[in-house]
Structure formats: C-alpha cells, structure tokens
C-alpha cells in the first residue's frame, strides 16, 4: 500500500513532466550553463585544474537539483494541488517518498548527460570505474533529494521560498558534497583509488539511511497545519 501510493505520486509527476518536459529541459540547460561558468573559473592556460572536474560535476548537480526542486513544488502550488495530495486518505510518508523518487529520477537523467560531458570537457577519466561512479552518483543524489524534497515541501507555503531553499539546503547537504567531490576525486586518480571511493560511498549510504529515516519521521508533523 505504501509503495503503491509512492509509485502513484511518482507516476503522476512523470505523466505531467512527459507532457511538457519543462523541468527536465530547464534543469539540463541550467546544469550546462553551470559547467560553462565553472570552465571559466577553473581552466588555466587550456588545462583544467586538478580535481576541478569532480567539483564541477557535483556543484552542477546540486545547483540544478535545487532548481528542479523549486520548480517541482511550485507546480504543486498551482490550484493548491499539494493540499489535495495531503488530504488524500494515504500515508503522508508515501507521498513524500513519491515526490523524492521523482527528483532522484530527474537528476539521474541529468547526470546521465552531465557526467560524460564533464569527462570530455575537462579531460577527466570519470569512466575508469563506471560502476563506482554510478554508485557514488546514486548515493549522493538520493542524499540530496531526501533532504531537498522535505525542505521544498515545507517551503511551499512559506514566504520568500525561492531564496530560502538554497539557504537551508546547502549547509545541510555539505556532507553529501564533501563525500561526492572527494569520492569523485579519488576516482579520477590513475589508477582509481578504489578503497577510498568505496569508503565515501559507505559514508553517503549512512547519510542516506539516517536522513531518510528522519525525513519520513518529520514529514507528517511538519506538513500538518
């Protein structure tokens, strides 16, 4: 029942997105613009700085993710559909999980394009260990989405939510950024430093578990008026 509700919410978001593709396209384009801006800051005499690719990849994901979160929940504000969702006789936590999975999927698609692009543009051997990269990106994205979906949902009714989301989200997701960037940097060494990458994936997994539990627990009292 729980999973069914979550998947139903996910399917609803997916159906809306497939029709307009607005969030996917804007998020992708935004991520590309981020990469462009960073290329100016972190390329010296045609050569990217050491480990720059790792930072650029993760910052682009985090910034684009913030934008996507804002847009996804902005959509729910039109004609008060979020209230309708919350009034539905279903577990609140399931609704949260559905929304969160939507963000994870969206960011997954963005990363599918972003990672090869960063690898090419910054001469980074990101794909030396594809399975580890995939695990790192997946664990990091889930961690970001777990916190992001909760805060974006809480902020739907708040004033000045556009500024508030990054202000709240970035300090809380600092561990995700550190683990993601350091893990990717270890991956970029030749040969890839596998034990270090695995350790960062473990830290990310621990973060995911703790914060998912906390978010499932908090969503109910926070969304009750």
């Amino acid at each position: 029942m729980f999973l069914q509700t979550a998947l139903l919410v996910l399917r609803k978001d997916f159906a809306i997105e497939v029709k307009s593709r607005e969030i996917l396209y804007t998020t992708l384009l935004f991520a590309l613009s981020c990469v462009l801006v960073f290329s100016i800051a972190f390329v010296k005499e045609g050569q990217p700085l050491e480990d720059a690719a790792a930072g650029i990849l993760w910052i682009a994901v985090e910034f684009a993710g913030t934008l996507a979160l804002g847009r996804t929940f902005e959509r729910e504000r039109y004609s008060e559909t979020l209230r309708a969702l919350l009034l539905a006789p279903a577990s609140r936590a399931a609704i949260y999980v559905g929304k969160m999975l939507g963000i994870v999927l969206l960011l997954g698609v963005v990363e599918l394009l972003l990672a090869p692009l960063v690898a090419i543009l910054f001469h980074a051997s990101l794909f030396a260990a594809p399975a580890l990269l995939a695990a790192l990106l997946a664990a990091g994205t889930v961690g970001f989405a777990v916190v992001g979906a909760l805060f974006a949902a809480m902020l739907v009714r708040a004033r000045s939510r556009d500024v508030m989301l990054p202000i709240l989200l970035y300090p809380i997701t600092i561990p995700v950024m550190i683990a993601g960037v350091r893990g990717t940097a270890a991956l970029l060494q030749s040969p890839p430093d596998r034990p270090t990458v695995t350790m960062w994936i473990m830290i990310l997994a621990a973060f995911d578990v703790v914060f998912l539990t906390l978010a499932l627990w908090t969503f109910e009292p926070v969304m009750t008026e």
């Binding site: 916190v147 909760l150 805060f151 809480m154 902020l155 009714r157 708040a158 004033r159 000045s160 939510r161 508030m164 202000i167 709240l168 300090p171 809380i172 600092i174 561990p175 550190i178 683990a179 350091r182 350790m199 830290i203 621990a206 973060f207 703790v210 914060f211 906390l214 908090t218 009292p221 926070v222 008026e225």
Partner: protein, 218 residues
C-alpha cells in the same frame, strides 16, 4: 528561575568585571605571547555554542513531535544564542590563527563544522523571521536536521583534512592558566543562562500578549 535572576545578574556582572584582571594575571604563554589570551574567550564560547545548539535541537524535536509551545520558546532562544556565541567563536578564532598558523582560516573539521553550524543557526533565525506562517515547524525541522548533520560534517572533513589544537588542550592546561580559564568559562556560562532565561521570558510574554489580543477580538 525568575527569583534567582537578579542575584545571578549581579554575580555575573561582578564576575565579568573581575575576569579581565584574572586573565591578565594568568600565566604567560611563551610561544604565543599575548595572543594566547584569546583562549579564555574562544574556547568557552565554543563550548557554549555547542551546548546551545544541542539544546536547540532537542527542544525543536520536542516541539515537532510533542507540540509543546514551551519547547519552541526554548528553541528560538537557544538558536539566537548559538548564533551569538558562534559569531564570537568564528571572529576570535581567525584572530588567533593568523598569529599561530600564519593564516586566517583553514578548512579543517572543527572550523568547517563551526562555520556550518553557525550558518545553520543563522538560517534558522532567517526562517523564523522571514518565512511567514508555518515558520515555527520549518525552523524546528531545520534544527533537528542540522543537529543530526553535525557528526556527519565532522567525520567527513576529518577524513578530508585535519590543524586545530586537539580537545585535550583544555584538560592539560598549565596550572597558571587553568584558574583563569575555568573562571572565564563559568562567567560566560552564567551569562548564557541569563540571556537564555531573559529571551525565553520575552517569548512567553509575546505569547501571552497574542492570547490577550485574540481574547479581546472574540
């Protein structure tokens, strides 16, 4: 607490007045010189920042799941004090670091954690001030997430890089510095208690005033 407030205020005032004398008479640290006196201010403020952050986290959790308005008042009061003592910590720290390490700032675990912790406390105050209706629960969730986050930040930056004097510095202080240190710590702790009490009292009066307005309208 209210009856003890005025005597406590007097004691705290006297202690604050005497603390500089005591610090000036404390043992002179040879390698660092005068700049080492920052310790008497910096380390206790750091302890109080951590203490009030923990109080804020626990009070917020109580507010979120027990819906106790008193817990919310404690949370907002201690969030303000976290921001205040955090500011003292991250201003006095670099002043000392410039002399000791030759740099103002370094991204090592304790510094990063204090900075992020301070940022979270300030964003909590922002939420309470600017987010409008429902901001109390938003802030409470932020405080709970923030306090759970601190160990993660510590562990990850610890693996990433480690310069700050270890926590073992305080217990192993030379005898001439131990007296002034704990005196300063006690003084600041008393100040913290006074500020917390006064701030909670203010929130309580605001709540009472709101109730009275509502009663008047009905």
């Amino acid at each position: 607490m209210r009856r003890a407030f005025v005597p406590m205020l007097l004691v705290a005032g006297l202690m604050l007045a005497y603390a500089p004398v005591m610090i000036a008479q404390g043992a002179y640290e040879q390698s660092m010189g005068l700049i080492s006196k920052i310790l008497y201010f910096h380390a206790p403020s750091g302890m109080l920042m951590l203490l009030s952050a923990i109080v804020c986290g626990v009070a917020s959790a109580l507010y979120l799941w027990r819906k106790s308005p008193a817990a919310d008042r404690v949370a907002i009061a201690s969030a303000e004090l976290t921001a205040l003592f955090g500011l003292i910590v991250i201003v006095t720290g670099p002043l000392w670091a410039k002399k000791a390490w030759g740099i103002w700032w370094d991204w090592e675990p304790r510094l990063t954690m204090s900075f992020v912790g301070w940022l979270i406390s300030v964003s909590y105050l922002f939420v309470r001030k600017y987010a409008g209706p429902g901001s109390d629960k938003l802030g409470a969730a932020l405080a709970v997430f923030g306090s759970v986050n601190v160990p993660f930040i510590y562990v990850s930056v610890n693996i990433w890089r480690t310069l700050h004097p270890k926590t073992t510095v305080v217990p192993t202080l030379p005898p001439g510095m131990r007296g002034p240190f704990w005196f300063s710590a006690a003084t600041l702790f008393l100040l913290y208690l006074l500020l917390l009490t006064a701030r909670i009292h203010l929130e309580r009066q605001r709540a009472t005033l709101d109730e009275l307005y509502l009663a008047e309208e009905d």
